[in-house]
């Protein structure tokens, strides 16, 4: 019987590819956001509306992760965002290798801001670094203001929270201040943005936030 000391990160291989992805994005001055949420929180709709609003000022790109179908990828393409669809089969998250492949199919020279729309799931995606610069978790008011407490691992791993579908707040028994407070108890460093993609409230603040991130990345590249 022989014992062998190993002491290595189990996800080291993923993290190494993630670091390569990040370096590649950096070399092109691209800011990358890993957008995560439950299924149906409104990620695709937000990106469609974002594309309309930043058209002419920010060149977007997207990697669209879903278990099956290219429905969301088609929606983003129709909105004018160059998009690579990644289907995970039954997989519950994207990993860095999938992003590495997807980046080969995007014109990085023409991209300022890359959104990775992760598989709808508030648990597993938070464990996998993809090479992003920012992690945004989206929570729709239809899901309940207790979600940050129930799925803290996701909220702790993000630096941005987007509260979506705020136009439904009165119909959903969602206490906006409790929702924000719960998120900040789990992660005091979260930047919180509230918006309604369909009605437009908060969308200006959202796109200004994105413009600031893109500008920071441009300055960094110089």
């Amino acid at each position: 019987m022989k014992q062998v000391k190993v002491l290595t990160k189990i996800l080291a291989a993923n993290d190494m590819i993630a670091a390569e992805n990040r370096a590649l994005l950096d070399s092109h001055g691209i800011c990358c956001i890993n957008l995560m949420s439950s299924p149906g929180a409104g990620k695709t709709t937000l990106l469609e509306k974002t594309a309309q609003m930043v058209s002419g000022s920010i060149s977007l790109g997207a990697v669209e992760g879903d278990c099956a179908t290219s429905l969301d990828g088609e929606r983003l393409s129709a909105a004018g965002i160059p998009t690579v669809q990644v289907n995970t089969g039954g997989g519950c998250h994207l990993d860095a290798g999938m992003i590495k492949s997807a980046l080969r199919d995007l014109d990085l020279e023409k991209t300022d801001l890359l959104f990775i729309e992760n598989v709808g799931n508030l648990i597993c995606p938070s464990s996998f670094d993809l090479g992003e610069h920012h992690r945004a978790v989206m929570l729709s008011v239809a899901e309940g203001d207790d979600k940050p407490l129930k799925y803290p691992g996701m909220f702790i791993s993000c630096d941005v929270m987007v509260l979506s579908k705020t136009d439904l707040v009165d119909k959903c028994d969602f206490d906006l201040s409790a929702g924000k407070q719960n998120a900040l108890r789990v992660n005091p460093r979260l930047k919180i943005l509230e918006l309604s993609s369909l009605e437009g409230a908060g969308m200006r603040e959202w796109t200004e936030f994105l413009e600031k991130l893109v500008e920071e990345k441009r300055v960094e590249k110089r």
């Binding site: 190993v6 290595t8 189990i10």
Partner: protein
């Protein structure tokens, strides 16, 4: 069930190390899992049972060391446990200026086997 992915990565690393060390068979694998990783030890053990088939670790036992999360308060200096609730707010003075010390580990510590 990303625990299946994690189990597969564990086995890949373990097999590589076993070959490097001249082991013909892996009998045991020891890992460390922090409480903030969203990896559920029971689920990992369950997935490992499937994933180990047709590997050098076909009958290997997986030992999971669980690490409970702790954070330090930068305001008052105490180290406090970060419970299931994950609140990164100091349990003593209420400050949000805190730093995680432990709880995000996901490490393969050692393997044992036969030459």
């Amino acid at each position: 069930m990303h625990e299946l992915t994690v189990a597969q990565r564990i086995l890949e690393i373990a097999e590589e190390k076993a070959r490097d060390s001249g082991l013909s068979r892996i009998t045991g694998i020891r890992v460390r899992v922090g409480s903030l990783t969203t990896v559920v030890p029971e689920a990992l053990d369950f997935c490992f049972g499937f994933a180990r088939e047709d590997t050098l670790a076909g009958n290997a036992n997986l030992v999971i060391e669980e690490v409970r999360a702790e954070a330090r308060c930068n305001s008052c200096g105490i180290v406090f446990p970060v419970e299931q609730s994950f609140f990164l707010v100091c349990s003593s003075c209420g400050s949000s200026d805190t730093a995680l010390l432990k709880g995000t580990e996901l490490d393969l510590l050692s393997i044992e086997g036969e030459i």
